[in-house]
Assembly symmetry: C2
Homo-oligomer: 422 residues x 2
Amino acid sequence: MNNDEYLTALGQNAKQASYALATLSGQQKSALLRCIADKLTAAKADIVSANQQDVADAKANGLSDAMIDRLLLDETRLMGVISDIDNVIGLTDPVGSEIDSRLLDNGLRLSRRRVPLGVIGVIYEARPNVTVDIAVLALKTGNAVILRGGKETLASNKALCTVIRSAMVSQGLSEDCVQLIDNPDRSLVSGLLKLDKYVDMIVPRGGQNLQRLCAEQATIPVILGGIGICHIYVDAEANLEKAVSVIENAKVQRPTVCNALDTVLIHQSHAKQFIPVLAKHLSGLGVNFYGCDQTQAILTAEGLDVSAATDESFATEWLSLTLGIRVVADLDGAVEHIRQFSSGHSESILTDNIHTASDFMNAIDSAAVYVNASTRFTDGGEFGLGAEVAVSTQKLHARGPMGLEALTTYKWLAWGDYTIRG
Amino acid sequence: MNNDEYLTALGQNAKQASYALATLSGQQKSALLRCIADKLTAAKADIVSANQQDVADAKANGLSDAMIDRLLLDETRLMGVISDIDNVIGLTDPVGSEIDSRLLDNGLRLSRRRVPLGVIGVIYEARPNVTVDIAVLALKTGNAVILRGGKETLASNKALCTVIRSAMVSQGLSEDCVQLIDNPDRSLVSGLLKLDKYVDMIVPRGGQNLQRLCAEQATIPVILGGIGICHIYVDAEANLEKAVSVIENAKVQRPTVCNALDTVLIHQSHAKQFIPVLAKHLSGLGVNFYGCDQTQAILTAEGLDVSAATDESFATEWLSLTLGIRVVADLDGAVEHIRQFSSGHSESILTDNIHTASDFMNAIDSAAVYVNASTRFTDGGEFGLGAEVAVSTQKLHARGPMGLEALTTYKWLAWGDYTIRG
């Protein structure tokens, strides 16, 4: 079987399997997820052992400690992944609810019913927990899923999928509800992106290169996201003392995630006063800086280290303890900077002036816009969605943290009495 | 200026213009649309004269009468287009409403606000009325728009856009809120499809080739739609007399549109009785048939003409007085046929059995699913949306008839008190 035949079979199997999933009741789906959790618990020794193989290979291949930590799935972490399934079981199932129901003048009783998307393709990096997370969220919403994880966790992913597929069968469903592309050939990713006859949505969970590959090659709708070049604007009327703690939280609490702060924009009226205070506090926490000309002059005069910011540095998602600092003339200057450099993820204004706050909220077109809060809140759990499929930075279908509803669509249903159009 | 520079300028201008549009009040947008209607009325002689040039060129180029009729914009039609603007002015503006507002445990006051998408690109064929329709719907929802119409109506589109752009300026807005690609070079379409830095959504309004081109080349989210391979299943328990009138309505009332019927599926129990009755009635109205083997045998025995249906004919959107007929064993057979051949637009079951009706509604995954009704109702106006941007046959963002809301997205807004994540 060549790659095209393999992918076509994969797509056909997923689509066929999706039909039965779409009509399951909430109770049946809960039983299925419970069965997956139980079988994963029973198989934990096999799974941990498969992961140890991945870790050994990663070490032999000289992968970084950070990378190896990411792909590690020891018993503690696995039990955490399994216990997350309980949370998902407890979430409200959006499938089946009917909205906008009404009787039309032509006699049709019309409504929109929320239904599963059908088949979801997910491409992700070397994090074996994603294999379970995504399969469980897809099944909870009645979708079949095709998984393509990083090659560094292939043994772990195989072990996890084997267990999940056996749970499908023991619940009277097709094992093809969950399929793993277990061949590391990269051309299979390109092929998956063109399976529009069978796959309804692609979710890439990975960095800029993966996002770009999907945008360029996919003939299937793609949910881009997870890249956050995030800003905080410290307005002329901000409380500067409190501003330091918000900026610290946004930058330092967890610098490796997409809702962490990348650039702080400072109103010129307090640049000389505030920038040294902020920089001294943050450098004590290990933060280093890229500053605009004015920021460089201020920090250098104080004897603090600062690199020269460029358009390229302002367009970088740092994912580390690096912070851009720029002085802006006013709100318009802040808005202009954000429009030029933001990835459309999360931006915040710190101000005590309600008009400035409102103007910022109106002018900024990002998935999440904050007044007097850390950007770190952009997260499905924090927003009360119960689960997070991804954080979308595009505008169609779903924006910002995506919960279960983002894995569904709707169909229009109309009941008539042999009704014809006049 | 080469094509790349031209397109980049087009995108930048549109994005820049969109910022002011996004903050207009409903009243300001109504004033803008009123101004467009007035200016189009005042310029009707120029517009009709430009259209006459397009018509003359079309005749000189030997275009078909049907094509020429489509691109014709005489005074009567133009006044119709202008009066449609009044309807749009009267629609509720979805922009600005806030949904899911709540206070989170962490103290943030969170809501989702409906906002314009930003910049919409629309690619369409030689129908000058679309130029006005789409510009007006985009402006009503606060979006800038880039238009690319068929080259056969370039003079008409230029005349219309000149008027619309002058209305923008007289309302204190940028004329770049509405831009027309007035160079027929086809490579500009491919270029437009990759302007993801500036354009937020592409709507192709045209046939299969245009849809495919957009799916394959676009790096911007595309709303595919407007292709309807539509089915009616006549169940064993259908009222056959009423079934004839529904099928007639779906096939004959307006055969050239996407919600017209393409294939009728007949339960085997009444194939011999019903197919001759149906075919005699429809052939009297000019309908011709492609039948499955059994249908061919039945019709030939009755001395009626029928062509042999193939997988290719069942996969054809006829847009004419042609009808496919297939005998199926039961509901499952009908569902299987629809899953194989439908474009996901509109399907209907005719039955008096509520269980069969419900099973059909659950099993069929198309944008609109009917019980005892003609497929012809799948339309923004009929569904009470007030306007129709397009009919989506994909599942993300918008499905089926797309009203004003499909031209918007939402952003998450959160108010805190220098709130940090714990």
